[in-house]
Symmetry: C2
Subunit: 184 residues, 2 copies
DNA sequence: TCAAGATATATCGTTCTCGAGGTAAAGAAC
DNA sequence: GTTCTTTACCTCGAGAACGATATATCTTGA
């Protein structure tokens, strides 16, 4: 998803892509060569991207990669109907969010945000005692677990707040578009 | 790490462990049977844990798992000197944090928190233009990328704040311990 | 001139993880 | 009594990811 998402902005070569993917996802999360290049080849085989060799501006020749219509469609499908992990795993979710603007319809964008919002609403219970009964934060003896739950709650609230404002804004825009269409 | 960390609290059987690991890490991140059971076996082979069969309280018989001294030592090594990924990957970091209290020395605990703190201090640059120049949040046209960076900054500040307070508290306690030792 | 270092792409073997499938025991439902 | 569901454990094959390794190009500087 990150490969196609970046290529949708403008053509890039593998090495550049590698650095961009690495800096994405909140912090630097390096992607191994052994992961990146086979994945590029796989996407090429699936006709999601094309490559043409270009002279390297600094050193060795590059393979400039360009997304195709097939690739764009694939990217949009991934964005529109994300696998569960993309909603529940923060790392994956942030990757998705970084490319959600490629899903041009504001109503569809709002739907995806709403699914994340729904997930964040289900309260996470992290720790349990010997008998499987949940332990509330104030009964935790480890300050680290207390901090973990504090941070977790705080960051969740921050994101929920943003999601709500964003969903409202998107629906407003979707409404305008619909009205404009209705009038036409 | 999560397996040994939970077992350090009290003995558990695989099925219970599975549920606890799943609810850890911020939200529910299910672990497949095909991952859990081979890992338990691997830890058993490495003599990090022992198992004894017990009658199931509800249904099928269980294998109660208990951590050994070898296992405890291994867990402490992982906590004391975490692999880079455990500091840079939020998911992994939160797992580590959930068990950091098993590293009994407050000075060592503070050192681990300081390494995370140091990582959070390096400003994350997420997006770049065609020429590789960083794009500041206000110049981003995607509201999702804007939100992403906002949320990221906000959650980072929350965690940094907590880390600083926690490190100060741990060093205070380490100081007391040292003074007490010096006096003796 | 020639070695060093950054750029750039690719492969290979190992390890990790998942998901599907299978086994089994106990209690509940019918 | 028989089936269903939940609990509980385990294995296997497929696919993903990594780290090491190899190769080639261009610039810089000793």
């Amino acid at each position: 998803m990150a490969i196609l998402g970046f290529l949708r902005d403008f053509p890039l070569h593998g090495y550049d892509l590698k650095n961009r993917v690495a800096s994405l996802a909140g912090h630097v999360r390096p992607v191994a060569d052994g992961t990146l290049y086979p994945t590029i080849k796989k996407l090429e085989d699936a006709q999601c991207l094309t490559r043409r060799t270009a002279p390297g501006s600094v050193a060795a020749p590059r393979h400039m990669l360009e997304i195709t219509q097939t690739g764009t469609d694939q990217l949009r499908r991934w964005l529109r109907d994300p696998e569960p992990g993309f909603l529940t795993d923060d790392n994956k979710w942030y990757v998705l969010l970084a490319f959600l603007h490629h899903l041009e319809n504001p109503r569809e964008q709002a739907l995806v945000l709403a699914r994340r919002r729904e997930f964040l609403d289900t309260p996470a219970q992290l720790f349990f005692d010997e008998h499987g009964a949940p332990i509330p934060p104030e009964r935790l003896d480890s300050p680290f677990r207390k901090g973990l739950m504090q941070i977790h709650r705080s960051t969740n609230l921050t994101e929920i707040d943003w999601l709500d404002r964003q969903i409202a804004e998107l629906n407003r825009r979707a409404g305008f578009t619909a009205t404009a269409k209705d009038r036409a």
